[in-house]
């Protein structure tokens, strides 16, 4: 048994209600209570060591990379908060059992509640910064779920979102702050951080870190100006409010400040930020609370104000103030929890929380009323109740302040004013609700709640009295150890007595009492005064801001992602231009040292022809047929260029690809507009021309620089090993099928996939079939001229023969599977063109899809074959044989590979063209699947 269980038990408890929900409400509530109770017992077991002034620690390594360990530390402060969290948590569980209606999913509620509880427990016993942050965020998440428990209500959703956003933002700031601190002390270990306070305070990054951490604390503890989320969190079921906004969630921020007090406090910056924020929050909360007609609203703002009080105390940089702060944490938790529960009971039994309707409930629920009144008096700080003691200490502290120099008297004054207002709203709570005439049209007549719904309130109110009367006896030790963990250089001397004799603090209290009563009796004027300002609804403001941000970003997105491909490409080219051009600035001279080839007439003519037709393609690009013709001219010249610069294979391939491409484009053009009008503005045209031109220049320059630079490449190896290692004299082909056969395998795969994709495209295509071209002339009504049929039919065997020849010679002289495949394909296509689909269909019974797959399979299998000889994939084998009459001939695995290429090419091209051609006929593909 160890510390881990303290947090683990409630965490496991998250699952319990989901399982036990079906056994009825009592069973569910009871089963939920077991684990936290157990964990509370564990805490008590440790209490002994804590009171002896030692801290219990335990560490388990988790993710060292981010400095995250499962590391726990139980000292006085943690003990105090654990008692609050688990103790009040148990009471809330009991209370919620009666509060929740049968419509609410109890299991879900308890699950969220337990998740939240474990998160809080995790925060207070963390000994590792990252782990602390982890639980910190968990509280944000679980509180989001709790606040939005009635998710069908808009308020609940909005309130929850607001809380999540504000606390989430704070959480991120906190993370940054913690990382900074960890960087300063070079450890994520809380002990180390707390031990090296001086180092931190003296470090340059201290102000930043401090502000970030405080942002986390202030957002969580609803300090001005982040206080606005808390009142809207009241949309949650009251048990949640009683828990989150008295003892836990909002106290997490206080805890954070208290926890890091040894490391961060003690500087002027700390004093300025923390105390001033606290003071403002204290006054603001107390003032607004008075004008709230909603019971829970009043309590919410009073919570804000009391949190402000604690923050102020922590900000004063004095040991006694710190003690007072810790003491008020206890007291506030006790009386505020009981008040929220009382409010919940009133709401539950009378159906309203509006103090303008709720009047004279004393008659209807005397018992509850008494409890509530006692708690409220404690909130007002009436003697013999716990609220009084901590407030006295607070007053005492405000007196011996000199920080503000000659203005120091302001703080006690303002403190008294704040106190007066808290007396006033407490009075309002008591008088309006329980006396002040008769209730005004309540949904139901109020009555006492079920017996056990009152138990939690009774316990808490009893505590108010006990602490108030025998403070030293009840909480003395706890307060000591808790404060001790804030004050590393020992506790100050202070006495927890009810009576300190006649002194200024007592006088201030009396002043506050009187002031409060006067304020309350003259509230009418105040209300009138207040009513002239329309009360801003933080929810609407917040939502409005978010809305505006969203609108703005929508505007930006519409502006940039306007769905115009032309713009996207333009950007792409612009970026390319920048990337390509920038380095050329340090290219001193274009021409390299490589000797250049003299120009000859033939090449010039070729070049000119190419350039002219390229330009012509651009100029007439809107008259598409013309453009296509010029395009094919360019293609031809390109293949000639390849031939000229000693790349026969390329020339052949380029040529055959050229033919197929043009056939394809012609077919496509049949279905597309033959021509379009000018539609780009001259501005766009010039812009495009500029970018394209610039890129052209850059590429040209690079090309020239490259061509004129000498280079020794890895190619000599290929020339050397082509025959000996690859068994072929045509080095290019050997590279394709052997040295870099893997590329070729990928290449034919691409071809195959493309064919499949195109099939997919065509299959679902329902395209309009033009009967006449755009000049209105009807297409020829004789699609298969006699002559053509005869010629092409007689050509077929020849073409096939040629392709076989090209295929076989490929390994040693220009040729190869790819070219052969294209030739075969073209030959077959010719048959299609000549005879039409109907004629071919019965004659060619090949499933092109199988052809493709088979081709790739053969190629791959060839590669796999080498595994038999324990060689890596695609290792080739070849040998020479001597047959009578035929003479010596070579057999090479590369040939098999090339066969695969051949089949794939034929299959792919046919699958594409044949199906495309079919579109023009009644033979459109119909598929089994709805594609």
């Amino acid at each position: 048994m160890n510390l881990l269980w303290v947090v683990l038990l409630p965490l496991i408890g998250t699952l319990v209600p989901l399982l036990t929900e079906r056994f009825g409400r009592n069973a569910c509530a009871f089963s939920v209570a077991i684990l936290p109770a157990w964990s509370l017992i564990l805490v008590f077991m440790y209490a002994g060591n804590i009171f002896d002034g030692e801290a219990v620690r335990q560490t388990i390594d988790w993710i060292p990379a981010i400095g995250l360990d499962l590391s726990f530390r139980l000292d006085g402060l943690s003990l105090l908060f654990l008692l609050l969290i688990l103790g009040i948590g148990l009471l809330v569980i009991l209370y919620a059992r009666y509060y929740l209606s049968s419509k609410d999913s109890m299991g879900q509620f308890y699950a969220y509640l337990m998740l939240f509880m474990s998160a809080m427990v995790g925060i207070v016993i963390s000994n590792n910064l990252i782990q602390l942050w982890m639980f910190w965020e968990l509280t944000s998440i679980s509180s989001f779920l709790l606040i939005s428990f009635w998710s069908h209500k808009s308020d609940a959703r909005k309130g929850a979102r607001m809380a999540l956003t504000v606390t989430g933002a704070g959480g991120l700031a906190l993370l940054a702050g913690l990382l900074l601190i960890a960087n300063i002390v070079d450890s994520y270990d809380l002990d180390t951080v707390l031990a090296s306070g001086d180092l931190i305070r003296s470090h340059a990054a201290y102000p930043v870190a401090l502000v970030l951490v405080l942002l986390g604390a202030f957002t969580k503890s609803a300090q001005f100006p982040f206080h606005f989320w808390l009142p809207h969190a009241m949309a949650a079921p009251t048990p949640v409010s009683a828990y989150l906004h008295s003892a836990t969630m909002v106290k997490a921020g206080i805890f954070l400040m208290a926890r890091f007090y040894p490391a961060l406090a003690g500087t002027d910056l700390w004093f300025i930020i923390v105390s001033i924020t606290g003071l403002i929050t204290l006054l603001l909360g107390a003032y607004i609370a008075l004008f709230k007609h909603d019971l829970k609203g009043l309590l919410a703002y009073s919570t804000i104000s009391h949190l402000g009080l604690i923050t102020l105390l922590l900000g004063l940089n004095s040991d006694l103030a710190a003690v007072a702060a810790v003491f008020h944490v206890i007291n506030h938790a006790i009386f505020k929890a009981s008040l929220f529960m009382a409010a919940g009971i009133i709401d539950h039994e009378s159906g309203s929380r509006d103090m303008r309707k709720l009047n004279g409930l004393m008659k209807y629920m005397p018992y509850t009323a008494t409890l509530a009144i006692v708690a409220a008096l404690s909130m007002a700080g009436v003697p013999l109740l716990n609220g009084f003691l901590s407030k006295e200490m607070f007053f005492a502290e405000t007196l011996n302040l000199s920080m503000l120099g000659s203005l120091s008297w302001l703080i006690p004054l303002l403190a008294t004013v704040g106190a007066a207002f808290s007396v006033a709203y407490s009075l309002r709570f008591i008088h309006d609700v329980f006396f002040n005439g008769e209730p005004i049209d309540l949904p139901k007549t109020p009555k006492e709640p079920p017996r056990y719904m009152k138990v939690p309130v009774e316990i808490l109110v009893a505590l108010c009295l006990l602490v108030g009367i025998f403070p030293a006896f009840v909480v003395g030790d706890l307060l000591n150890v808790a404060s001790a963990s804030l004050l590393i250089n020992g506790l100050p001397t202070y006495s927890l007595a009810v009576w300190h004799g006649l002194n200024i603090p007592l006088f201030m209290s009396i002043l506050a009492m009187v002031g409060g009563i006067t304020i309350y009796y003259n509230r009418r004027h105040l209300f009138q005064f207040q009513s002239q300002f329309d009360e801003p609804d933080a929810k609407h403001i917040f939502e409005g801001v978010i809305q505006r941000v969203v609108k703005a970003s929508e505007y930006i997105i519409d502006l940039l992602e306007n769905g115009s491909l032309q713009r996207y490409i333009f950007l792409l080219l612009l970026f390319t231009l920048t990337m390509a051009a920038v380095p050329l600035f340090n290219l001193t001279q274009n021409a390299g040292s490589r000797p250049q080839i003299p120009i000859d007439a033939v090449t010039i003519t070729g070049a000119v022809l190419m350039i002219l037709s390229a330009i012509a393609t651009v100029v007439w690009h809107r008259r598409r047929f013309l453009a296509l013709i010029f395009l094919s001219v360019v293609g031809l010249v390109v293949s000639l260029a390849f031939a000229h610069f000693s790349a026969p294979d390329l020339a052949l391939t380029q040529l055959s690809v050229e033919i197929v491409t043009i056939i394809l484009l012609l077919l496509a053009l049949f279905f597309l507009p033959q021509s379009t009008l000018k539609e780009s503005s001259n501005r766009r045209l010039s812009g495009d021309l500029f970018v394209a031109g610039m890129i052209g220049c850059v590429i040209g320059t690079i090309c020239y620089a490259m061509l004129t630079t000498p280079l020794n490449t890895i190619s000599d190896f290929f020339l050397a090993n082509s025959k000996t290692g690859g068994g072929g004299t045509n080095v290019v082909n050997v590279i394709l099928v052997d040295f870099r056969g893997f590329d070729t395998l990928g290449e034919i795969t691409v071809l195959g996939i493309a064919a499949l994709g195109i099939f997919k495209l065509i299959a679902k295509m329902r395209i309009y079939m033009p009967t006449r071209d755009d000049k209105g002339r009807a297409w020829s009504n004789d699609p298969h001229p006699m002559m053509f049929e005869m010629v092409s039919q007689s050509l077929l065997p020849l073409a096939l023969l040629v392709s076989v020849y090209i295929f076989l010679r490929g390994h040693n002289v220009p040729g190869g599977g790819f070219i052969a495949g294209l030739i075969t394909a073209v030959a077959i296509i010719q048959q299609y063109i000549a005879h039409g689909v109907h004629w071919i269909k019965p004659r060619v019974k090949v499933d092109y899809q199988w052809l493709i797959a088979g081709g790739i399979l053969i190629a791959t299998a060839t590669g796999l074959g080498s595994w038999i000889f324990d060689k890596p994939f695609l290792s080739t084998w070849f040998d020479y044989f001597n047959l009578p009459w035929i003479g010596e001939f070579e057999l090479a695995s590369a040939m098999l590979f090339d066969l695969g290429v051949y089949l794939t090419v034929v299959g792919a091209v046919m699958l594409i063209l044949a199906n495309l051609g079919k579109l023009t006929t009644s033979e459109r593909i119909v598929t089994k699947e709805n594609d």
Partner: protein, 502 residues
């Protein structure tokens, strides 16, 4: 076992081929069974490959027995094997999801899916720039075909943009390769890395152009600003399993930047050392900003997820720009995490839109979903992960990146951008979730059952996130080693040379 490195490429390839041939062709049921079996096998193989390269060092597979730098090599180091495993896992989940019915909306789904996987794995494993180009084309053409799967105006339009942009990208790729070969005279990445420092001044300028042009290509793949505009609408248009698989595609771009630019133009590239870094900084940060703005502006869950992809890409680019081992390691962790969760988000978006009738996954008020609870839980988890809320993998990734940025001069930019962007995600996603799941106009009418397979797929993807946290130390240790392997190249060179001398 000696052939292990090539399995992740051959396995899906052969699977695709067999599915095109009888007896498997023309039967969707046989396709499904076969495909799932193959994918499971692939996951196992990838895991084996990862382990063996993790334990026995880099595995270099020399295709055709032609030693580097002459032949093509596959390099299975910690980084590439990690990416391969990631791909297979994501692929398996996406495919399971598809098997619940989406694969019937078009032809050849499973073969194309397999080819896609093959292409991605090839791109990760190859150690040769031109072969990288080839595999880019394989995965691209497969993605073109997969993108129109299901048909419809939107898909066609998105596809036109996607295809044309990428074709331009491919030609730029070839320009770049031409320059690099024309100056360095080799295609093997390691060999190039060794030769780059020896280049003359004249060649250097050219090679630099080549390197930067490669950044354009990879940036386009990775959807880096200003080349990211195509992504949101494309991913939103794709059918759910395809979109889920595409979650890894952007990471291919990121990986290539890591691989090529850290290896060839890395610290020890002499005059050409880290040429892309000055560009990566601003572009990465701006990508995050644009992504975050996109997340805020998204009108539907699909678009939100797509924009979240952009955010993750930006974050990764920033991490790469830091150019230090810690950052790379952080990037790798973040890569695993973000890939899986965005994949899951696309699937969840699809579940939602199937449930909400006409409203689909748009953020408008609609009838209560019949199965709001189960989908809601899935969404909630995914949201926590993607926002970076503890206790799920998101926060580890975020903290890793923030920590890595400590001490870098650009930290003053990185921290605010990363933190604020995750706040923006928090706001946007909480709004989205509350609208979709809670703001309902009336009770659900009729029941739209969710195929169990789909739920299994989503659950599988989501459960990776807690695992990434629970076994966080193991994962981060691995990514640390992978990062150091990438940055300190000597072991890799040795293992290549030890194969290389002949």
């Amino acid at each position: 076992m000696q052939h292990l490195p090539i399995y992740p490429i051959l396995l899906p390839m052969l699977a695709a081929i067999f599915m095109l041939l009888p007896p498997l062709s023309n039967s969707i049921t046989r396709h499904r069974v076969f495909a799932v079996l193959v994918m499971i096998l692939l996951v196992i193989t990838s895991a084996f490959l990862l382990l063996s390269s993790h334990q026995h060092g880099v595995q270099v597979y020399v295709l055709g027995g032609w030693q580097p730098p002459f032949g093509i090599t596959l390099v299975a180091d910690r980084l590439s094997t990690m990416m391969v495993l990631l791909t297979s896992v994501l692929g398996l989940c996406a495919q399971l999801y598809a098997c619940a019915g989406d694969d019937k909306d078009g032809m050849f789904f499973h073969p194309l899916f397999m080819f896609q996987i093959m292409g991605i794995n090839g791109a990760f494993l190859t150690g040769d720039v031109f072969n990288l180009f080839v595999f880019f084309e394989v995965l691209l053409i497969a993605s073109y075909a997969l993108l129109i799967h299901g048909g419809g105006k939107q898909k066609t339009k998105a596809n036109v943009h996607y295809v044309i942009l990428n074709l331009v990208g491919s030609s730029i790729f070839l320009f770049a390769l031409g320059i690099l070969y024309g100056t360095i005279g080799s295609l093997n990445i390691e060999d190039m890395a060794n030769k780059v420092p020896l280049l003359g001044e004249h060649e250097q300028a050219l090679a630099k152009t080549g390197g930067l042009l490669l950044l354009v290509v990879f940036g386009l793949k990775a959807a880096m600003l200003p080349l990211h505009f195509w992504l949101p609408k494309t991913y939103a248009a794709a059918s759910a399993p395809v979109a889920a698989l595409f979650a890894i595609m952007t990471k291919v771009g990121i990986y290539s930047i890591l691989r090529v630019h850290t290896t060839i133009f890395g610290e020890d590239a002499g005059a050409l050392a880290s040429i892309v870094i000055p560009w990566l900084w601003p572009l990465g940060l701006l990508t995050i900003v644009m992504g975050a703005i996109g997340v805020l502006a998204s009108p539907s869950l699909r678009l939100t997820s797509a924009n979240l992809v952009v955010v993750s890409v930006g974050t990764l680019i920033v991490a790469i720009a830091m150019e230090r081992e810690a950052a790379t390691s952080a990037a790798l962790y973040y890569m695993i995490h973000s890939t899986l969760v965005t994949g899951a988000l696309f699937l969840i978006a699809d579940l939602v839109s199937k449930q909400r009738g006409k409203a689909e996954d748009r953020y408008v008020i609609a009838r209560q979903m019949p199965h709001a609870k189960v989908i809601g839980i899935a969404f909630f988890i995914a949201a926590l992960v993607v926002i970076g809320m503890p206790p799920l993998s998101g926060f580890v990734g975020k903290i890793l990146i923030l920590q890595a940025a400590q001490g870098v001069t650009e930290m003053v930019w990185v921290w605010p951008v990363v933190l604020i962007s995750s706040l923006v995600c928090l706001v946007a996603i909480s709004r989205a979730g509350t609208t979709i799941f809670w703001r309902s106009a009336g009770e659900a009418t009729g029941d739209v059952p969710i195929p169990p397979l789909k739920l299994i797929a989503v659950a599988l993807l989501l459960c990776t996130s807690p695992l990434l946290v629970v076994f966080g130390s193991a994962v981060t240790d691995y990514t640390d080693l992978a990062a150091s392997q990438l940055h300190d190249r000597t072991p890799l060179i040795e293992s290549i040379i030890e194969g290389g001398d002949e």
